[in-house]
């Protein structure tokens, strides 16, 4: 499963780079492999990389403490088999241009059935095991369980459009779709941040960081945000006003995360000095830096008056890619690295991973800044030349996106260096 998730990561970056060039030069791609085919491959690979990676980590780390019972093992094994095979079938459908055309879930809708069945198996296996753990549960246990549960809820909600009633009103259809998508991100974040918290507790040898009151408070705050803070996706949709106001209000509680990050900055600096020789730790600390940057962006975008300009521009892409690569992928690479015991690898191997790590960080920063600049430019031009054609508006934006596409190649180099180094060290250790 870990190997499969890393292959998905490689697919994501390769398809992403090709898609960025197809975006810029569609004339050369439209007859061979057009953008509307590349984008689903890229997006689905990314989504499944994150979810498969998150589940791999939580299953592995849970069992580091206590093994699953035999029935649970069987259920999760069936989950893995069904999950992987469905994903493969999805890619086959993309290769023959069969789409379902929903944002993020661009495959034919009936394929949601095997995905759901596999997830229910995972839930059955994991929860029967989870409730039997009698010791005091550190917060990561709760976060893992929350993530698994809410992925299921949001996945079902994401598919409600297949019931005709939901499509009777376009406003309802869009609202429910983006409620589900928005909350789902919260669900996988619970799984991933759970693993990050687990790792920090293990690396620092201090279990209290996963048990104190503050961390519990922030758990509830993020759960509240998972449930109610998805409205920024649809601020401009003319739904009933309270839908917007509730989201806006809840999203402003994210300032508390921001303040808490600034307050703990000095402690972090000390911790970094102590632990920076560890590869795994570097990934985690990088994810925190990316969290900081993306949080600023997210806070801005959550204010409707600002969202009015950023919505529908590449700033949204900067937010989506900044979080999925900068935060989710960094934590997952750290957590998988820890699983693979990268600290015990030879010097040469470690050097390769370190190099991949720095290439990734630098290119991601250029990549992210390009998207923000492209977004600002598009927003500005749309505002000052309302009657202009789409091509006129996009002209200078395309120039910035060329730099973006180049940094994408560097990003591909960095991430694939790490992923391939991991894949080759997988042979050493058999896991999951």
């Amino acid at each position: 499963m870990v190997a499969f998730s890393l292959i998905l990561l490689l697919t994501t970056v390769v398809a992403g780079v090709i898609a960025s060039w197809a975006f810029l030069y569609p004339e050369n791609f439209n007859t061979v492999i057009p953008f509307q085919q590349l984008r689903p491959i890229h997006v689905s690979a990314a989504l499944f990389w994150i979810i498969t990676g998150a589940v791999s980590c939580l299953l592995y780390y849970s069992q580091e403490m206590k093994k699953l019972h035999p029935a649970g093992q069987k259920m999760t094994a069936t989950y893995v088999a069904l999950w992987i095979n469905t994903i493969l079938v999805i890619f086959i459908f993309y290769s023959i241009k069969q789409f379902g055309g929903r944002e993020y879930w661009e495959f034919p809708p009936w394929l949601s059935i095997p995905i759901l069945i596999s997830w229910l198996l995972l839930m059955a296996g994991y929860f029967t095991y989870w409730v039997r753990i009698k010791e005091k549960k550190s917060l990561y246990w709760i976060m893992w369980a929350t993530g698994i549960l809410f992925f299921c809820i949001t996945f079902i909600e994401q598919n409600l459009w297949q019931i005709n009633w939901f499509r009777q009103s376009y406003l309802r259809e869009v609202t429910v779709q983006w409620k589900a998508n928005g909350s789902m991100v919260g669900a996988w974040n619970q799984m991933i941040y759970g693993s990050s918290l687990y790792l920090m507790a293990k690396i620092s040898g201090d279990e209290t960081i996963a048990q104190n009151r503050t961390v519990r408070f922030f758990y509830f705050l993020s759960l509240t945000n998972l449930m109610f803070n998805w409205g920024h996706h649809i601020y401009n949709v003319p739904t009933a006003g309270w839908v917007r106001h509730v989201s806006y209000l809840i999203s402003m509680t994210e300032w508390l995360f921001f303040i808490s990050m600034i307050r703990s900055f000095k402690n972090k600096l000390e911790e970094t000095r102590r632990l920076k020789h560890l590869l795994t730790y570097r990934f985690i600390i990088a994810s925190e830096l990316w969290l900081f940057l993306n949080l600023i962006l997210a806070l801005m975008m959550s204010i409707p008056a600002i969202n009015r300009y950023t919505h529908g521009t590449h700033i949204t892409v900067a937010h989506a890619m900044g979080t999925t690569i900068g935060i989710n992928t960094m934590i997952l690479l750290g957590a998988i690295g820890h699983m693979l015991k990268v600290e015990e690898l030879g010097k040469k191997h470690q050097r390769i991973i370190t190099r991949g790590f720095y290439i990734t960080q630098v290119s991601l920063l250029v990549f992210w800044i390009c998207l923000v600049v492209a977004g600002i430019e598009k927003a500005y031009r749309t505002e000052i030349m309302p009657a202009a054609s789409f091509q006129q508006i996009m002209m200078p934006v395309i120039t910035v996106l060329k730099v973006f596409a180049l940094s994408g190649i560097a990003l591909l180099t960095g991430i694939s260096t790490i992923a391939i180094a991991y894949l080759s060290s997988l042979k050493r250790i058999r896991i999951l």
Partner: protein, 130 residues
């Protein structure tokens, strides 16, 4: 204590979700005809949203199409869909398919405006959309 807070939040979530399903659309616009629904299915099967947005949601290669019908007219839209351009592929759709996609886009168009006018911004930063 922990469990109690958790259950309260989950109950609030369930209540909010149910209320939202029934009341998020307070405009009660007309429900879609069979043709419109076919148009929506085609919109999805052709993956138009990989390149286009409705209400700003979707891919950014092409323009937002929420209000193209009212701003550019259906003849204009039809030409694009039928022939494509250098950048937009020709998807080789039949006449009836193009017609139903246009019906779908008109239905979406009638639900509201994608761009919120500046005077709808409230001093608190939120929007008031009538």
């Amino acid at each position: 204590m922990f469990l109690r807070i958790w259950l309260t939040l989950v109950s609030a979530f369930a209540a909010y979700t149910t209320y939202l399903y029934f009341n998020c659309d307070n405009k009660h616009l007309s429900s879609p005809s069979i043709e419109i629904q076919q148009g929506q299915n085609l919109w999805q099967a052709q993956n138009c949203q990989a390149c286009h947005q409705l209400y700003g949601l979707g891919g950014y290669m092409g323009p937002d199409l929420t209000n193209t019908i009212s701003t550019r007219g259906s003849k204009y839209v039809e030409t694009y869909i039928r022939y494509g351009t250098g950048r937009m592929p020709n998807l080789h759709l039949a006449d009836s398919e193009i017609k139903s996609i246009i019906a779908f886009l008109s239905w979406v168009d009638s639900s509201g405006k994608s761009k919120v006018p500046a005077n709808n911004v409230h001093w608190t930063g939120t929007y008031i959309i009538k």
